[in-house]
């Protein structure tokens, strides 16, 4: 019987030839990741059982991203717990503020995660790395603590859902719009426990960074993972970055899927997810007149260089609306440097935007742009839950970098199409 790419990767890491959905397996992990929010709890668990050493110091990634640079004394203490653990166990891939970025943008960019890998991260957006043709999923701190000791974890093999995209992208439409569209169609639990495989001619032509954005939000549909079969675009991205061997897997033609969806790219316009769930998605033409207080461009979803380029294209020669705060957050130091070289940062500054050092920051209401009661933001981030960016009575609308940039200028949620005229 044919297997999906997800089943093949899991079978390989479980050391078995065949695998079926629902099967419980113990899998070897290529990489284990945690951040400043989740690592301290995992470290506490690690130490509580008397563990003395990690399974492999080269296969653990620890990144201060959420409250870093330290927001306050308590956050500083959390970051310190992780830093001291990293030094004690000589963790190869610990990155300090200044070299660290948001983990899900940083790990693919630095070639830490590669096609064919099986990894867990104590952060729900770990599924991002599926875009490289890897199996990547989020876990909690206790699962992570166990994996720090053993280098293994248990999985229930997920059923796979296939999302086939045909046709071409319309103007100003990107990976973010495609994934918001999918979540709008299937709901925030539409892919619960399942692997979401994105395929079709449109995906095969989609740049790597858009694929990363799509897999990043698989969790927003309840998915266990998102995945794209590796192809020439993947190899072009991975080859200059990889420092170890990697393996390419593809789904068999007779692989089994529990559901198959087909979408036509030409029918998808820029999407906006309205409060308070990512499934509350509408085409921008139907969103109406929504005034905003803040516009955020960044996060593990849309803080990459291509995101900043499109935002700068919209903002070039324009000014941010006087009632709006624009906050731009390059996801990694490399994105920051590249944006500097290309003059994008100057464009943001000229427009009246604020530029932050890489951090998850406002996405989860951490710092660097928290909302007051009654305030409304449009953001390239991934969640618009109640109170996600600050006060329980604030609101977040999710959209692409192009839409957020256009909205920052017009002071209301707007399509970049409106700026052309």
């Amino acid at each position: 019987m044919g297997m999906t790419i997800t089943e093949k990767i899991l079978a390989e890491h479980a050391g078995v030839k065949e695998i079926y959905p629902g099967q419980l397996i113990k899998a070897r992990l290529d990489l284990v990741m945690a951040n400043d929010v989740t690592a301290p709890l995992a470290i506490k668990e690690f130490e509580s059982v008397g563990a003395k050493q990690v399974f492999d110091r080269d296969r653990i990634v620890l990144i201060p991203s959420h409250f870093a640079p330290n927001r306050d004394v308590k956050a500083a203490e959390q970051c310190k717990i992780m830093r001291e653990f990293a030094r004690k166990h000589q963790i190869t891939h610990y990155y300090e503020v200044g070299t660290a970025g948001i983990e899900h943008a940083f790990m693919p960019e630095q070639g830490l995660v590669l096609p064919g890998d099986c990894l867990i991260g104590a952060d729900s957006h770990t599924c991002t790395a599926g875009a490289l043709g890897a199996f990547a999923t989020g876990v909690g701190s206790t699962d992570l603590a166990a994996a720090l000791i053993t280098g293994e974890t248990w999985f229930k093999v997920p059923e796979s859902m296939k999302f086939v995209f045909k046709g071409k992208l319309r103007n100003w439409v990107c990976g973010k719009d495609l994934i918001l569209y999918v979540i709008g169609r299937i709901g925030v639990d539409g892919a619960l426990y399942k692997a979401m495989e994105f395929t079709g001619e449109l995906i095969r032509g989609l740049p790597m960074e858009d694929r990363l954005t799509m897999c990043n939000m698989a969790i927003e549909a309840g998915g266990k993972s998102g995945i794209v079969e590796p192809d020439d675009i993947t190899l072009e991205y991975v080859r200059p970055r990889a420092k170890r061997e990697f393996k390419l897997y593809k789904s068999d033609p007779d692989a089994k899927y529990c559901e198959v969806y087909e979408f036509n790219g030409e029918e998808i316009e820029p999407q906006v997810a309205c409060p308070h769930l990512p499934e509350n998605t509408h085409p921008i033409s139907q969103v109406g007149n929504i005034a905003i207080d803040q516009a955020v461009i960044g996060s593990c979803t849309n803080g990459r260089i291509s995101d900043l380029r499109v935002a700068a294209e919209v903002l070039k020669g324009r000014k941010v609306h006087p009632y709006v705060r624009l906050i731009v957050i390059p996801a990694t130091p490399e994105v920051y440097r590249q944006a500097l070289k290309e003059g994008l940062l100057e464009t943001f500054l000229d427009a009246g935007g604020a530029i932050s050092t890489p951090t998850c920051g406002p996405c989860f209401g951490g710092h660097m742009g928290v909302l007051a009661e009654g305030e409304r933001a449009v953001s390239t981030t991934n969640r618009n839950f109640i109170g996600r960016m600050g006060h329980p009575k604030s609101e977040v609308y999710l959209a692409s970098p192009a839409v957020v940039a256009a909205s920052a200028v017009l002071g209301r949620i707007a399509s970049p199409e409106e700026m052309v005229s």
Binding site: S141, V188, D189, G366
Partner: protein, 169 residues
């Protein structure tokens, strides 16, 4: 194991930002996390509930972030069990790993109201609504999870496996 408590009803898609807002993620102290459980939707919740009470919710409970602080805060607030139509998968794993009993039962999620007195048998999955007399059946934990729970949670299970000294206590 038998659990008795009063039901507190919540809707669909209760996310981890609602269960414990990010503001409090700078601590892993259960007591502190318990003080802010569910406050984004009900600021009085941590003070209203009694020890052993039970959360009953709709579909996709615990969706969103992987923060283990969410089940920890529920457990520390005094909640003995969560019954829902369905759970988000990371929350499901986390709850089991930290020893917060959870049961999937659509019929109970629909049939129970806030204030009902419930009796839950974790071994059989039977949920008895003492206020209405109705009985619901949830699927009990599969054997491998019972083993994990019997070991005292994931860390003790792992510690035993790799022969760490403190695993057996």
């Amino acid at each position: 194991m038998l659990i008795r408590g009063k039901a507190w009803k919540f809707g669909d898609d209760v996310d981890t930002d609602v269960i414990i807002p990010s503001l409090y993620l700078v601590t892993s102290d259960p007591e502190e996390l318990g003080k802010h459980c569910m406050e984004a939707v009900d600021p009085e919740f941590p003070r209203k509930i009694g020890k052993g009470d039970i959360i009953v919710a709709g579909k996709n409970f615990g969706c969103g972030s992987s923060r283990e602080h969410a089940p920890i805060s529920i457990k520390a607030a005094g909640v003995s069990c969560v019954i829902a139509r369905s759970f988000a998968r990371i929350f499901y794993r986390n709850a089991i790993n930290i020893g917060l009993p959870i049961l999937e039962c659509p019929e109970a999620a629909d049939g129970v109201s806030t204030g009902d007195q419930l009796e839950v048998d974790l071994d059989t999955g039977e949920i008895r609504n003492m206020s209405t007399g109705r009985v619901y059946r949830a699927t009990p934990f599969p054997p491998f999870m019972q083993e994990l729970i019997a070991a005292g949670g994931l860390m003790k299970y792992v510690a035993k496996q790799v022969g760490l000294a403190r695993g057996s206590d």
